[in-house]
């Protein structure tokens, strides 16, 4: 009796659950990932509904009453410059997410390309890329970003340039992670088989290695988004953000410059701080959850 004839009747009996059901089942086991995704979903809903219903002009100075504590009319209060903080929070959350996604995306993409080149081709290319990563790692990224952002004209700093500044030094982490994963992947049998069957380098990278790396790439991307949000917060808090925009870090910076707590305007810095905790906390949870997905062996070792 051949193997195929045993398996066929079995396969007919078992009803394969659909993909969404499988995803939901997995999320029930991986609670951290589920919780993180739920927070991100809630934040997205807050931003999307906000962007549709609220006039974005209210997020800029002189559009509302000054220094009002939270009330029915202004649920999040207003600030010293006459901004409606509800509108500012909606727009600021969106801008923060945008910087994170753009910078994280660019960093991960560059990391994938460099990591693959380095690991797959090896030789002097590998040692050059690795040495550059090793030298740049101890240099505090934020400080270099301070130099770059400080060298720009303050009027030129927009949300997009901010994302570029953050992305510029956000590729070393993904490069090293993906390089080491490709190195282990290269030694696997299925790659050797593909090579012996005459598949080209590009074919092996695209069809054999890349699909197997997807969970790692997803984890690296989320980690990079986390770093980018963090970096943009620090730059903005130092006064290097696009000063006109209600980016969350900028709201904190302006509240701090006006001595918000000394003057009793507690809601002003507190709201962006809470939003930041939600964003970073959710990203950290998703990142840990994806690690568990990518690395089943470390699952629940604790």
């Amino acid at each position: 009796m051949t193997l195929a004839s045993i398996q066929t009747p079995m396969a007919q009996e078992i009803k394969q659950p659909t993909a969404p059901v499988l995803v939901l089942r997995y999320l029930r086991r991986n609670k951290g990932l589920a919780f993180g995704l739920a927070i991100l979903l809630a934040l997205t809903l807050f931003t999307v509904i906000g962007l549709i219903t609220i006039d974005p002009k209210k997020a800029y100075p002189l559009s509302a009453a000054f220094k009002q504590p939270p009330s029915l009319k202004y649920p999040f209060g207003t600030d010293f410059f006459g901004r409606d903080l509800l509108a500012a929070m909606v727009l600021g959350t969106w801008q923060t997410a945008f910087i994170g996604l753009l910078a994280g995306g660019i960093g991960t993409l560059v990391g994938i390309i460099l990591g693959f080149t380095s690991a797959y081709f090896g030789g002097w290319v590998d040692s050059a890329i690795r040495t550059i990563c090793q030298i740049l790692t101890p240099v505090p990224v934020l400080l270099i970003q301070v130099v770059v952002a400080g060298s720009l004209d303050k009027r030129d700093v927009t949300i997009v340039t901010m994302a570029m500044i953050v992305a510029m030094l956000a590729w070393m982490g993904p490069t090293l992670v993906i390089r080491s994963q490709v190195l282990t992947m290269k030694e696997r049998q299925f790659v050797a088989v593909a090579k012996l069957s005459g598949v080209s380098d590009m074919g092996i990278i695209m069809k054999e290695i890349l699909p197997n790396l997807l969970p790692f790439i997803a984890a690296a991307f989320v980690a990079q988004v986390f770093m980018a949000v963090f970096a943009s917060l620090y730059l903005a808090v130092l006064g290097l953000g696009p000063l006109r925009e209600p980016l969350l870090g900028n709201i904190i910076w302006s509240a701090q410059s006006q001595g918000a707590f000394f003057n009793g305007w507690w809601w002003w810095p507190l709201e962006p701080a809470f939003a930041m905790i939600l964003i970073l906390g959710a990203l950290a949870l998703v990142n840990m959850g994806l690690d568990e997905l990518a690395n089943p062996r470390v699952r629940r070792t604790e």
Binding site: I135, V147, V237, G239, Q256, F261, A284
Partner: protein
């Protein structure tokens, strides 16, 4: 540790410093901004200069700062200046040099950093060791949990929460500044006490979020060490649990913790920079913030380089501490 490794480490340190200095040299020169022109532009708006005079002034200033020379010559001179820790003059506090500005503010930062890093490292390592130690009482092991939950909250956000709950709501601690308004710095106990009270919230915002990272890594190490043969052997030899905990368990888990400390120094320092300016402490972070506001480029670049060199130096020092902690490295 043999000479080859020492030379290797020193070369790496030099390479890091060189890379950072090169970035700091070339990035501003790629930008269309001209610090001197901007500075005189500001003066021209406030005072009565005629445009021709301004151009002459700018030209003479550029000559004085050597900006009219070819860029490679400038670069060599600049690298030489960095070796001598000469970062030039501050634009906004002119007769002061950048090094003077840094030296004035750096003791504050070192004080804050030293206390918070040592405290969070020691507390975190001990709590992590206890959390993984099966013989410890349950209540002792559960102390670590709240710290783990706080891991990853940026210190500046922690600072805002502390300011709100402890400073603003409960009115227990001051909202900012290095000492109370109206006090003149002196060597009395009263002033010292006031100084310390103002340092509590900044220190807590740096400590609370970072204890958890040490707990997590130490707990992970602790769990692996428990299965080791030498721990079993020590137990069967009848050594006291305290001795096993101290000499067999914590001691062996300490080396990766110190490596972690070396890797975390960059993050720790940048966090301190941001927290200082949230609380208005007169450290290097506030100096950086003031320089950014005043477009004082030499100070911005000087501080960035200074911190980078300091971090690279600290990492180098920790490398030399390894042999003290681990006899295997000493003999090899």
């Amino acid at each position: 540790m043999n000479t080859k490794i020492i030379v290797q480490r020193l070369a790496f340190f030099a390479l890091v410093v060189w890379a950072a200095s090169t970035i700091v040299f070339f990035v501003p020169r790629l930008s269309p901004r001209n610090a001197i022109r901007e500075r005189f532009g500001e003066l021209a708006r406030t005072g009565g200069f005629s445009p021709g005079d301004i151009e002459k002034l700018i030209a003479s200033m550029q000559q004085q700062f050597g900006l009219d020379k070819p860029i490679w010559e400038q670069y060599w001179q600049y690298l030489g200046n960095i070796l001598r820790m000469d970062f030039g003059y501050s634009l906004s506090r002119y007769p002061m040099t950048v090094t003077e500005v840094i030296m004035q503010s750096v003791p504050w930062t070192i004080g804050l950093l030293l206390v918070t890093t040592v405290l969070s490292f020691v507390i975190g390592t001990l709590l992590g060791a206890v959390a993984a130690w099966p013989k410890a009482p349950a209540w002792l092991r559960s102390i670590a949990t709240p710290f783990i939950l706080l891991t990853g909250v940026p210190p500046i956000i922690m600072g805002i929460l502390l300011l709100f709950f402890v400073g603003f709501r409960m009115k227990l601690l001051p909202l900012g500044g290095a000492y109370s308004v109206g006090l003149v710095p002196n060597w009395s106990w009263a002033f010292f006490a006031d100084l310390m009270v103002h340092q509590i919230l900044p220190a807590l915002s740096l400590i609370l979020g970072s204890v958890g990272t040490w707990v997590l890594s130490m707990r992970g190490m602790g769990i692996t060490i428990q299965g080791e043969d030498y721990v079993n052997f020590a137990e069967h030899k009848g050594l006291s649990p305290g001795r096993i905990f101290r000499d067999y368990y914590v001691r062996n888990a300490l080396l990766p913790q110190v490596t972690g400390l070396a890797l975390a120094i960059g993050t720790v320092v940048t966090s301190a920079v941001v927290v200082e300016q949230l609380f208005g402490l007169p450290g290097i972070g506030t100096a950086l913030n003031l320089a950014i506001r005043a477009n004082d480029f030499p100070v911005i670049y000087g501080i960035v380089l200074f911190i980078t060199i300091a971090i690279a130096l600290l990492m180098l020092l920790l490398e030399f501490i390894y042999p003290v902690l681990d006899p295997r490295i000493r003999t090899n």
